[in-house]
């Protein structure tokens, strides 16, 4: 039971929900960049929440299936064909042994997910299958997928009913990323804060799973821009000395020394995971209570899919 890579995309990796519990040893959680899409993909093929998938970035892979399979493509829509016929996203699909799935360029956001019933089965590292590229651990030998790599599927847990196809469109608008105040918020003058929220930021080419480097009009702190080294969470927006924000992302450093002006709210992590170099967007300030509510609403939405 497995598949073979006939052509590798730009940066494809094995991903799951993340490797938790090791940040105090310097290892960030990693995991899918758009965990919302991964979760729904797993639901569409009847996998449990923690199953691993293949995450593709901007340009996808070409696969040959070595056995029958049941798959779903989720995340941003990419040009994709099964034996040269277009295959839809956001629904389960049966594959026959020998069929070829060709995922080409994205039509919209940065990433899409190939979920397979039974999950992608690689050896777990510290209890998770996620690839952490900057540390070179997990997934397929800690690296991106290459031509001729072969990946196995696990066995399907028949107790979970796959979700039928979705009735509504669930693509998110990436033009606005909502944030809450960061721990060094008061280190910035009102004028600088206004500049942060009023301008359009562009995602630069230096962005990856570790962090998204943005460019706009520089933001300055009142005094120094470095703090005593402290923990950094997923989604922290750091302002280094050059005044250009960095959004710490799934493979972020566990600690750092730059000021944190704001934090992306949990419900919008999925949007950050879909930003690609050249995209423009704006930050929007949200209260902590609103952020908490949006997170709960997103969870409720995912749970509601099972009962449609």
């Amino acid at each position: 039971m497995g598949l073979e890579i006939l052509r590798a995309g730009l940066q494809s990796t094995v991903q799951d929900k993340g490797r938790f519990g090791y940040a105090h040893l310097g290892i960030s959680a990693s995991g899918a960049a758009d965990k919302f899409s991964l979760r729904i993909g797993n639901m569409l093929v009847g996998n449990p929440n923690q199953s691993a998938c293949i995450e593709m970035t901007i340009i996808g892979d070409k696969y040959r299936f070595k056995s029958d399979a049941y798959i779903a493509l989720t995340g941003s829509e990419f040009e994709a064909a099964l034996d040269n016929k277009p295959i839809p996203f956001w629904q389960g699909w049966s594959i026959k042994k020998g069929q070829i799935l060709d995922v080409r360029s994205t039509k919209t956001g940065a990433r899409c997910y190939l979920c397979v019933a039974g999950g992608i089965n690689v050896e777990g590292v510290m209890g998770a299958k996620t690839t952490h590229l900057t540390s070179g651990i997990g997934g397929c030998h800690g690296r991106i997928l290459k031509i001729l790599d072969e990946l196995d599927f696990g066995t399907l847990d028949n107790s979970i009913n796959p979700l039928q196809k979705l009735n509504e469109s669930i693509t998110a608008d990436n033009k606005t990323i909502r944030v809450t105040k960061g721990i060094q918020w008061l280190w910035f003058h009102k004028k600088q804060i206004n500049k942060f929220f009023q301008q359009q930021y562009r995602v630069t080419d230096l962005s990856n799973r570790m962090g998204l480097r943005l460019i706009g009009n520089a933001i300055n702190t009142k005094k120094e821009s470095e703090i005593i080294t402290a923990g950094i969470p997923l989604g922290a927006i750091q302002i280094p000395g050059d005044g250009q924000p960095i959004i710490s992302f799934v493979e972020h450093q566990t600690t750092g020394g730059y000021t944190i002006i704001a934090n992306v709210i949990s419900a919008d992590f999925r949007k950050v995971g879909q930003l690609k170099p050249g995209d423009y967007f704006q930050f929007e300030l949200t209260s902590f209570s609103k952020a908490e509510k949006l997170k709960v609403d997103q969870e409720k939405f995912i749970h509601s899919l099972h009962h449609d």
């Binding site: 519990g21 651990i137 923990g231 450093q253 600690t255």
Partner: protein, 214 residues
């Protein structure tokens, strides 16, 4: 949780006691603990309410206040200084105005506290370097710093757990694996340890490297 606004061994002891407690007695919903010099960051899963977690933490604070800090362990790290193993030692000579042997002598005379591991897997933040050895980071970072390199950046010293790019000044190399990704909880150097460096010969370096399979 911000415990202080400066770097001090007293604050580190408090943080270390608290973190040890949190690792041994996990709180429901807390998925990661990030220690810093004077703060701890906890991250929660999607389903956990921040307010509830804060209430649990307040109780833990009261318990931990009165508990003894964990036992302090001294770890000896053998280092082959200079030459091909410490290619930037001449830069330290240039900035410190000390001779190579004085630099080695001062570097191994120190007892360094492991404030925490952070940044990248197993990287120890060490405190307590002789400030006469202060040397600024290299302008252009090296593309490849070998695993086990012992280095100086500004007033800090550190050890690279894995081969990686880096801008610190390399002064030597340890043959020991300081962090093992397949057994991360039991690395040679852990938070709260004290570290002392010991100068070794090239023969000893090779012997240790072989017996450690590193």
């Amino acid at each position: 949780m911000q415990l202080d606004h400066k770097i001090s061994e007293t604050t580190q002891k408090k943080l270390f006691t608290l973190i040890t407690h949190l690792i041994r007695n996990p709180i429901n919903g807390v998925v990661n603990i990030h220690p810093g010099y004077s703060s701890i960051l906890l991250t929660l899963d999607e389903m956990t309410n921040i307010g509830d977690t804060i209430r649990v933490l307040e109780n833990i604070f009261d318990v931990v206040q009165n508990s003894e800090p964990p036992e302090e362990i001294l770890v000896e790290v053998p280092v082959l200084y200079g030459g091909n193993y410490g290619k930037d030692i001449q830069r330290v000579v240039q900035f410190s105005k000390l001779s190579e042997s004085e630099i080695i002598q001062r570097h191994q005379a120190g007892i360094y506290l492991v404030y925490f591991l952070g940044f990248s897997p197993g990287f120890p933040y060490l405190g307590g370097m002789d400030q006469n050895l202060t040397t600024p980071r290299k302008q252009t970072p090296r593309k490849r710093v070998p695993q086990g390199s012992v280095a100086i950046a500004g007033g800090q010293t550190g050890i690279y757990p894995f081969t990686s790019p880096g801008g610190w000044n390399l002064i030597g190399q340890t043959p020991l694996k300081i962090f093992n990704i397949s057994n991360p909880q039991n690395g040679l150097i852990q938070m709260g340890n004290k570290v002392q460096f010991k100068s070794i010969s090239e023969d000893e370096y090779k012997r240790l490297k072989e017996s450690n399979g590193a």
